[in-house]
């Protein structure tokens, strides 16, 4: 599956501009203060193409999550640049970055972060309603379709507190796909799940990329799951190796 291992990270290799989705250059990030001060990223270069799935692996503490938050516009790099679809976004305004997250990005974290007061379907609709592009009827239809895709058609109206961990994570996947993002970022999405649920969530994320032009980037410790992605990127000490 990894036909061109590691080479994608080198910007010189980017040939066709229309397939480039995300480009990071020389990204550095230091976390913590004083004694806790850590150089989590030491000048990372990365290029993601459209319609591909990527796995990032590496030992604990090597900076995988830090990189993911930067690529997901949840954090800002100390230096270096990130652009999405050719648009430099690392120095953009908070408003613009927020809008970008809403329209272009979907997140799945290790913890599902669902809103417990809302039903599963309502949670899936939260990004859509913020975007406001669809009518209420269309949103209901789309969220129902997504819930069906993740195999929870019969539990749409259930409050998320009454779903199992695996089910909750599947709702989170459906929510990440709500606005048809160009890029889905997942940070150990299966970290808390058993074998069967892990496979299921992974399948869902993988199929989200296949044939849709959408890219998926998954941080995982599970080497077996990583191999199911189009490419596996290995990190160590704040750099790709």
């Amino acid at each position: 599956m990894t036909d061109e291992p590691f080479t994608e990270t080198k910007p010189t290799q980017s040939t066709a501009a229309e397939v480039e989705l995300l480009k990071a250059q020389g990204v550095r990030r230091t976390l913590g203060k004083d004694e806790a001060r850590t150089q989590a990223l030491r000048g990372v270069d990365l290029l993601l193409k459209r319609g591909k799935s990527y796995a990032i692996t590496g030992p604990s503490g090597c900076g995988k999550s830090t990189l993911l938050y930067l690529l997901g516009l949840l954090d800002r790099p100390d230096s270096g640049s990130i652009s999405i679809m050719g648009r430099p976004i690392s120095d953009a305004s908070d408003t613009e970055r927020t809008q970008f997250r809403n329209q272009m990005l979907g997140f799945v974290f290790q913890f599902h972060f669902l809103l417990p007061e809302f039903s599963a379907q309502e949670n899936v609709m939260l990004p859509m309603r913020r975007l406001g592009r669809l009518s209420r009827k269309e949103m209901l239809a789309r969220s129902a379709m997504l819930m069906e895709q993740v195999g929870l058609a019969d539990k749409m109206t259930r409050s998320t507190g009454h779903l199992s961990g695996g089910e909750q994570q599947r709702v989170a996947v459906a929510r990440a796909l709500a606005n048809e993002p160009a890029l889905v970022l997942a940070d150990e999405p299966t970290g808390n799940l058993d074998e069967r649920n892990s496979r299921m969530v992974f399948e869902l994320l993988g199929s989200a990329a296949r044939g849709t032009g959408r890219s998926v980037l998954i941080v995982t410790h599970n080497p077996e799951l990583a191999t199911r992605c189009d490419e596996t990127l290995r990190m160590r000490d704040g750099l790709f190796v």
Partner: protein, 413 residues
């Protein structure tokens, strides 16, 4: 906005108990604010109406002369005007009441004018004698500038009108001198004395008047007080008594008589009432503030507890503005509920209080609580609670908006 309010509402519901406490505080704060204003301003305007009913809106009294040699040296067009300097000399009373009344009536604002001759005399009943203050009046005129008719507690004002030898006495004097309707009362001053028959007993509620004041026909008063032409003052009522101070200032310059509006003669009491009203307003605002402090606290806790949800909302594309609105929205929901319920509670409390018995004499007379119905009380209660609640929810809302989603998500995973 519906989406934001929906999220706000769900967050609120998860903290039902704490929010109900704040809501209760705001409801009571708003209600008490309104009720206390209804009461204090009720008593205030009742006092003012009592004053009008007894002393009219203004009194034209002592004539004065400006001791400045030249009064007006030219018209204003010449850009030359001599100021009226202070130094004035007064001549007691109104020397030509008929002329002055005619002049007073020319003012558009005036609805009635009545001359009054006032002087002290000794009142003697079969029981005891006492000092009194004789008011000589022309009844029909006087009724147009006072509420004497409404202040009669015993007897009939018509009986007074039909008999030149009749007298009206205050309720306190009637008690002291043991007077009843039909009793005779002798008024004496120097060597003049006239016998009167009590035809009515009135109560103004003002202790001093109810103890001393007696009303007789003007002609009789002239005899006793030995004052054939003069009037002591002209009592005047206006269509809009609240304009008395302005009208008085104008009249004073035209009539060259001292003119005292009620705002001036009752200044002390009016100040007491407005101080009461303001201080109760402040006290009730403090209740609202305490309730809002509770809400501030609850919202701050919600912000702490909801950091993950806020972070995930932000990651989904909810802006800082949205987060501010979600938290202000929670405040606004409680605020609106508090205002609606508070105003409703105030309405019913005011209704109830209006019928609560209380006996007050001294500066006015009432046997039950007096309230004033005014939408302004409701308006100001809502303004105060809105400002206070918005401030109380803005601070936690700002705090929530400052949450960096990356920090929270990093910390959680």
């Amino acid at each position: 906005m519906g989406l934001i309010l929906q999220i706000a509402w769900r967050f609120l519901l998860a903290k039902k108990r704490a929010m109900l406490m704040s809501l209760t505080g705001i409801v009571f704060g708003v209600a008490f604010f309104i009720v206390s204003q209804a009461q204090t301003s009720g008593f205030e305007s009742f006092f003012i109406r009592s004053v009008w009913g007894t002393n009219g809106a203004l009194k034209v009294q002592d004539r004065f002369q400006n001791n400045v040699a030249s009064m007006l040296a030219g018209e204003e067009q010449d850009g030359f005007k001599v100021e009226l300097k202070e130094g004035r000399s007064y001549v007691e009373g109104v020397e030509h009441p008929a002329l002055i009344i005619e002049a007073v009536r020319k003012f558009r604002e005036v609805s009635g004018a009545s001359e009054v001759l006032r002087g002290s005399a000794t009142a003697k009943s079969g029981f005891r004698e006492d000092e009194c203050e004789v008011y000589g009046i022309r009844l029909s005129d006087y009724l147009s500038v006072s509420n004497l008719g409404g202040q009669i507690r015993y007897g009939r004002i018509e009986d007074f009108d039909s008999d030149p030898q009749s007298i009206l006495v205050g309720i306190k004097m009637a008690e002291r001198l043991n007077l009843d309707i039909g009793s005779t009362l002798l008024l004496r001053r120097q060597n003049e004395s006239i016998r009167f028959r009590v035809k009515g007993i009135f109560e103004t509620g003002v202790e001093e008047y109810d103890k001393r004041r007696v009303f007789v026909h003007l002609r009789q008063a002239r005899d006793i007080l030995n004052e054939p032409h003069k009037a002591s003052f002209i009592q005047v009522s206006l269509y809009d008594n609240y304009r008395a101070d302005k009208v008085a200032a104008h009249m004073q310059e035209v009539l060259l008589h001292d003119v005292r509006p009620w705002q001036k003669s009752e200044k002390t009491w009016l100040e007491v009432f407005s101080a009461l009203r303001i201080s109760s307003g402040i006290t009730m605002s403090v209740i609202i503030m305490v309730a809002a402090l509770g809400m501030f606290n609850t919202l701050a806790i919600i912000v702490m507890e909801r950091r993950r949800e806020i972070a995930i909302l932000r990651s989904m594309g909810y802006t800082r503005q949205d987060v501010v609105r979600i938290f202000i929205g929670q405040g606004v929901i409680v605020l609106i509920a508090g205002m609606v319920l508070g105003c409703a509670l105030a309405f019913f409390l005011t209704l109830g209080i209006e019928n609560l018995p209380i006996r007050i004499r001294g500066i006015f007379s009432t046997d039950h609580f007096v309230v004033k119905w005014s939408l302004w009380h409701y308006f100001w209660a809502c303004v105060v609670s809105t400002v206070v609640v918005l401030v109380a929810s803005y601070v936690p809302a700002r705090k929530a908006a400052q949450i960096e989603p990356g920090d929270i998500i990093r910390g959680a995973s």
